[in-house]
């Protein structure tokens, strides 16, 4: 699944991942003040190669259908938190 960098960034934004302002590679999901997940920001601009998109999807702990929903909008922040709770990533 090849995506544009902006599409992946919009998923991070929707799921409230924190990204530092300065030159950094990582984004983090905090929930109730705890660091829950990390993910990797993509380099450059334009399209993100399919294999990199898959790696980022894995870091978000989403299957392909869920990730597609995240990109195409049906999956919102609350839905994502529910998924993480179901997977026992958030207790």
């Amino acid at each position: 699944m090849q995506l544009k960098k902006k599409e992946i960034e919009s998923v991070f934004k929707k799921f409230k991942f924190q990204i530092k302002e300065t030159h950094h590679k990582m984004a983090y999901l905090f929930y109730e003040s705890k660091m829950i997940l990390k993910s990797r920001l993509s380099q450059g601009s334009g399209n993100v190669p399919g294999n990199i998109t898959d790696k980022i999807r894995g870091q978000l702990y989403l299957n392909q259908d869920q990730f597609r929903d995240a990109v195409q909008c049906p999956l919102d922040y609350d839905g994502y938190i529910t998924i993480l709770k179901e997977k026992n990533i958030i207790s």
Binding site: M35, L37, R40, P49
Partner: protein, 141 residues
């Protein structure tokens, strides 16, 4: 008619039949049939994605070094090298193998420092990663 002529006659008759039916008629063992296009695509895919297990010994950092080797895999697809630490669920990538390794090393150092800065407030996965990182990373003297 000698045996060779018989074979040629039978081959000519069978030439209009699909490969599978011909082989069945000859009572020969039938191997799975794929078209040459499918075969070439499989070979192309094998050549496109090659994943090689290896290890990182050098974290390429002035501040930190590895106390032990870190198992990783390197894959190459469409001239993009991706190196993955499955233990940490982290990856780096670049147009060369060296760029990908450098990228992963920087990512690991950044993650390690961010975990250290939040060590009182870690969820399950960062806590697990912290324990692993503490075993493999040490500060340079």
């Amino acid at each position: 008619m000698n045996r060779l002529s018989q074979y040629e006659k039978s081959t000519a008759e069978e030439s209009s039949l699909p490969y599978y039916e011909t082989e069945v008629k000859r009572n020969l063992t039938v191997a799975p049939v794929v078209s040459i296009t499918q075969y070439r695509q499989v070979i192309h895919n094998i050549n496109q994605v090659r994943t090689t297990p290896t290890q990182i010994l050098n974290l390429r950092s002035d501040k930190y070094q590895l106390a032990t080797s870190l198992p990783v895999t390197i894959s190459e697809e469409d001239n993009l090298y991706v190196i993955t630490s499955h233990d940490l669920n982290l990856f780096g990538y670049g147009e060369t193998e060296d760029e990908a390794i450098q990228d992963l090393c920087e990512t690991i150092v950044e993650y390690y420092e961010d975990i250290e800065n939040n060590k009182e407030n870690l969820g399950k996965i960062p806590t697990r990663d912290k324990h692993f990182l503490e075993r493999i990373i040490q500060k340079c003297n």
